[in-house]
Amino acid sequence: MKADQPIFMHGVILAVFCLGYGVYLALTELAAHDAILARALEDRQNSLAQVIPEQLHDNNPAIDTIVIPDADGNDLTIYRARQGNTVTGVAYETYGSGYAGQMRFMLGIDADGKILGVRVLSHKETPGLGDKIDVKRADWMLQFDGLSLGNPPIEKWAVKKDGGQFDQFTGATITPRGTIDAIRKGLEFFAEHRAQLLENQ
């Protein structure tokens, strides 16, 4: 193309490219939309299956949800496991501060307030040190199964260094501290909203 074009021609060319690529992306998004939603649902089911045992429910907790504001005022999605009409357990996300930013956990609790399971969903902890909170690397997270807010008593919900009952792991104290903090907060949320969580509507 000639170099001495009127200035608006450059604008037109740019606009045509923007429009063309806009259409290209819109069509891609249209084709991929359903598959992406399906994958997101599968991801949620997989993470829920780790914290709520299958024999506890005959519904699909990933789509049986209610929304309750948490202690910080953010909307928290609660996934509910039911046997028939009775709520047998709930699962929701809880957060803690780690050594390198926020750590997200999925916490499963049965109707009596006992922990069914807790798994880390995302974290940026140091590989080899802080990442022992991932069950793929260590069994540390499994020690919380079956515990509840009264067992051990609330002041024991801390790492040993802080006078609690849980082992920190070698080279990392901040990560387990943040993790236990997150679990305790999750349990307190359950205690506070118990009636609402277990209600059958």
Binding site: F17, L25, A32, A35
Partner: protein, 223 residues
């Protein structure tokens, strides 16, 4: 000017390698080489984006005026990255869970932009496509080399979780070389990235000098 396809391929893969010779795309090089598998996945995704972008720019090269070429190139790269992002999220979800956070970073990789400006803007469609593809594969090669060294020393494994990335058939690639306790953790942390990348650049320079080529710093020469 006659186009030498073998020259394009050799330049892209090794001789004018994007990472080891031109030192472009350092951000994904550092971030994604904590394991050989991540490096390979990131490299292949980048190669797809580069091949598609070079092809498109070469096809439209007579319509893109000089004044607006940079925004158009960036638009094309960003559109292709978004395309790869959506397609991987929908149909290659396991891979996406590992690489998803880093796919948008391809936009900020200056290697694709450099090749569009230096090559695809002037050359016909087929050579441009090959240049994009092989520059991308060269990028993959460099990343995988750096990632392998970091993973072997830093974690004691090689291609761990490759089956997660490419399917169960690739289980054979996963090698455990030593106990994790013997590994030097620093190598998979950021300092290891700088160390290994620097040593790889030195290694390539030594090979170049041995071959009598002297030190090449040809930023981006075309054929």
């Amino acid at each position: 000017m006659a186009t030498s396809y073998s020259r394009i391929i050799r330049d892209g893969l090794w001789e004018n390698n994007g990472v080891l010779s031109m030192l472009l795309g350092m951000c994904p090089t550092m971030a994604m080489t904590t394991s050989a598998t991540n490096a390979l996945g990131m490299g292949l995704a980048t190669a797809v984006v580069m091949a598609a972008s070079s092809l498109m720019v070469a096809a439209f090269r007579n319509y893109i005026t000089r004044e607006v070429r940079i925004p158009v190139y960036i638009l094309i790269i960003a559109a292709n990255v978004t395309f790869v992002d959506l397609v991987m999220n929908a149909w290659m979800h396991e891979l996406y869970k590992v690489l998803g956070l880093f796919i948008p970073l391809i936009v900020s990789n200056c290697l694709p932009l450099a090749r569009l400006e230096a090559f695809a803007a002037k050359e016909p469609v087929l050579p441009s496509f090959l240049d994009g593809l092989f520059m991308g594969l060269g990028f993959t090669l460099a990343l995988t080399m750096i990632g392998s060294v970091r993973e072997i020393i830093g974690a004691g494994t090689l291609f761990a979780d490759a089956s997660l990335l490419f399917g169960p058939a690739f289980k054979f690639m996963e090698i455990k070389l030593m106990e994790p306790d013997m590994a030097i953790l620093m190598m998979i942390l950021p300092p290891g990235g700088f160390l290994v990348t620097g040593l790889m650049v030195v290694f390539k320079r030594i090979l170049d000098i041995r071959a009598g080529k002297g030190i090449q710093m040809a930023g981006a020469h075309s054929v």
